[in-house]
């Protein structure tokens, strides 16, 4: 096969790979839109924290992980789960409280667990994901795996953050800490409650830290590949601060009154889906039609999922064992 054919093949593979990343992000976005509308319809209950706008982080990081790795997500975890390959129908059914949900309807939006798909859990307590991943890495270091913790900017002020990063560093554990800095903790700008630069905190412990554009999936993947590689190679914990922004309220009850004027609009210009589409039809030589096709397929997929989900049975109350 001629060199040019090879590069052509490589280009094709790269394009295909880029389209796959785009599809995953698009799936998350439409999933969240769907959850929001189902919430308004009274089919999703309690509260939800949507990942819309942050898709490139989880999709980029997950694309750098192997089968031996494990992930701890947060209450804002639909994207963390879908990026790992958790069955979208199972996740939707969980939100709908159905027996067919990935946790049988027991967990709901904030507490999803899917061990089969490397998701050790989503944690409703701020900092819980950090502890979970730190501990996981104690086990994974025996098998060459790396643990990943997602958490937000506001979580860096919690005791879990400090204790676990120090613990992981002194034990040189294979764990990657991914701070999704979306500028706010609930309604509070991160600078108002956070002393100094977030990335300086891991650096102080001697943990390598990078701050990256969290809305460009390729940038995220490259950073994650490097960090995961170093962790796997025995270089100890790694830290990524991904700068991003959530397009929706903190939770369903939040109108977002605190946003600075023009802020949301500016970030929409940097929508990770927009960024990816431009790269795809630009440098990666895909056609707009290829991307449109994905959009249509994902929309269809979600329509089918909603129908199936709303038709799925609710779990039957009944005695449940307290202990394993």
């Amino acid at each position: 096969m001629s060199a040019s054919a090879t590069t052509g093949a490589q280009a094709g593979a790269q394009t295909q790979d880029g389209l796959d990343l785009y599809r995953r992000m698009r799936l998350i976005r439409r999933f969240e839109d769907t959850i929001q509308s189902l919430f308004q319809k009274g089919e999703v209950h309690g509260t939800t924290h949507l990942y819309s706008g942050q898709e490139a982080v989880a999709v980029g990081v997950s694309s750098a992980l192997g089968d031996e790795d494990r992930v701890a997500g947060t209450y804002r975890g639909h994207g963390h789960a879908l990026a790992l390959g958790v069955d979208p129908q199972g996740l939707l059914d969980e939100m709908l409280g159905r027996a067919t949900g990935v946790c049988g309807g027991r967990a709901g939006s904030m507490n999803v667990i899917d061990l089969e798909h490397r998701l050790m859990g989503c944690y409703g307590i701020i900092g819980g994901s950090i502890a979970a991943a730190t501990g996981a890495s104690l086990a994974l270091r025996r098998t060459g795996g790396v643990a990943v913790a997602y958490f937000g900017d506001g979580t860096t002020n919690q005791g879990y953050f400090h204790e676990c990063l120090n613990f992981a560093k002194v034990m040189s554990l294979p764990v990657l800490y991914v701070c999704e800095n979306n500028l706010y903790g609930e309604f509070t700008p991160w600078e108002d409650v956070t002393a100094g630069r977030i990335e300086a905190r891991p650096e102080t412990f001697g943990i390598p830290a990078v701050t990256i554009d969290g809305n460009d999936v390729w940038v995220v993947r490259d950073a994650a590949r490097e960090a995961v590689g170093r962790a796997r190679a025995g270089e100890g914990p790694q830290f990524i601060q991904a700068m991003t922004y959530r397009f929706v309220g903190h939770s369903r009850s939040d109108p977002g009154a605190y946003r600075k004027p023009g802020e949301l609009e500016a970030w929409r210009e940097r929508d990770p889906l927009k960024v990816a589409r431009e790269r795809l039809v630009g440098a990666l030589g895909a056609g707009d039609a290829d991307v449109d096709a994905i959009d249509a397929e994902v929309d269809e997929q979600l329509e089918r999922m909603v129908q199936a989900g709303l038709a799925a049975p609710y779990p039957q109350p009944g005695p449940v064992p307290e202990f394993a």
């Binding site: 209950h45 309690g46 509260t47 409280g97 159905r98 949900g101 049988g104 309807g105 027991r106 967990a107 709901g108 939006s109 904030m110 507490n111 944690y123 409703g124 307590i125 701020i126 506001g154 979580t155 002020n157 919690q158 005791g159 903790g185 609930e186 309604f187 509070t188 108002d192 409650v193 956070t194 939770s251 009850s253 939040d254 109108p255 009154a257 605190y258 609710y314 779990p315 039957q316 109350p317 005695p319 449940v320 064992p321 307290e322």
Partner: protein, 328 residues
């Protein structure tokens, strides 16, 4: 008659105490935000009382609670918000090992006038980590008071009493009550901590509960009245100290007592009520029992959560069967 809703009752109590006493301060996560916290219970308080006395904090439950303790020991009267009762574990060391110990260890020379507000309870589909009731975790801790109001007027009176109390008080706000409205004319009367309330007089059985459970018991009592069972409803209001006199008095009257507790029976506060009955009122007891939740975490799915909680129907059915049984 003018109505008072639970949220406004909380807000008004805070507003009035902040206005009355310079030493009162209020802080917590997002309490000073436009929304007035996640549960919209504190809007406008920073505007009215200034950012030195009402302010937001980092997401640092241990620092919030420890700081409140240190401030209370040095002359302030802090009210803090730990958003969900489920987060209290992260604050518990300071509450139990600092605030609850100080009065005794200081030889009675110092005290810790501190109020910890926290939203608790299930029924809102918030799942296993945002629906728990923390009473059991604090019930065995001397030096802490635990208040658990059942209505807007009770909430306003008890919160004011808690703020004026010189001891650390855990003040529990049941999420399902925030929307509740009540007709209130004029000011609500003062309520002392540690005193229970007979919410409904009855002769055949006593239903003991707190918070949302009191309303459920009142509805159940209504239904039971229809088939000639006269149920007394006792609102404990405060779990620690517990008004054992009120429990024993009602028991002496009805000889049958059921506790309605939103939480696992094993190790719950209802066990303490039954223990008090057995230890100090045995001769009055014909029957005592508990309605509580199953021994597993709180489920998210609506049918699971509904079946999990002891609701009005369950109370009615249980009383019917036990009284039937008891009359054999």
């Amino acid at each position: 008659m003018p109505t008072l809703d639970f949220r406004t009752a909380i807000r008004d109590a805070l507003d009035e105490e902040l206005a009355r006493d310079e030493r009162v301060v209020l802080f917590g996560e997002d309490v000073a935000s436009v929304q007035g916290g996640v549960f919209a219970a504190t809007p406008g308080l920073q505007e009215r009382h200034g950012s030195e006395r009402v302010f937001d904090t980092p997401i640092s439950e241990l620092a919030i609670t420890g700081a409140a303790y240190g401030a209370a020991v040095n002359g302030l009267r802090p009210v803090i918000e730990i958003m969900f009762g489920d987060f209290l574990f992260l604050a518990m060391d300071s509450l139990v090992n600092q605030s609850a110990k100080f009065f005794y260890l200081s030889g009675g020379r110092g005290s810790v006038p501190l109020v910890v507000r926290s939203a608790v309870g299930a029924g809102g589909r918030f799942g296993a980590i945002h629906s728990q009731s923390p009473i059991g975790w604090f019930h065995n801790v001397p030096g802490i008071k635990v208040a658990a109001p059942s209505s807007p007027s009770e909430a306003k009176a008890l919160l004011k009493a808690a703020i004026r109390d010189d001891n650390p008080v855990l003040f529990l706000e049941h999420k399902r009550l925030y929307g509740v409205k009540e007709e209130v004319d004029g000011d609500v009367p003062d309520v002392p901590l540690g005193r229970a309330r007979v919410a409904r007089e009855g002769a055949d059985v006593t239903l003991v509960s707190v918070m949302k459970g009191v309303g459920d018991c009142l509805q159940a009592a209504e239904a039971l009245a229809a088939d000639g069972i006269s149920a007394e409803v006792l609102d404990l209001r405060t779990l620690r100290p517990m008004d054992t006199d009120a429990i024993l008095a009602s028991l002496a009257k009805t000889h049958r007592l059921a506790v309605v507790e939103e939480g696992p029976a094993n190790g719950g506060w209802g066990g303490e009520v039954l223990a008090v009955a057995a230890e100090h009122g045995l001769h009055d007891v014909d029957d005592v029992w508990r309605l509580a939740t199953p021994e597993h975490p709180i489920p998210y799915s609506p049918p699971l959560e509904d079946a999990f909680l002891p609701g009005v129907e369950a109370i009615v059915a249980s009383v019917r069967s036990r009284l039937g049984a008891a009359s054999h």
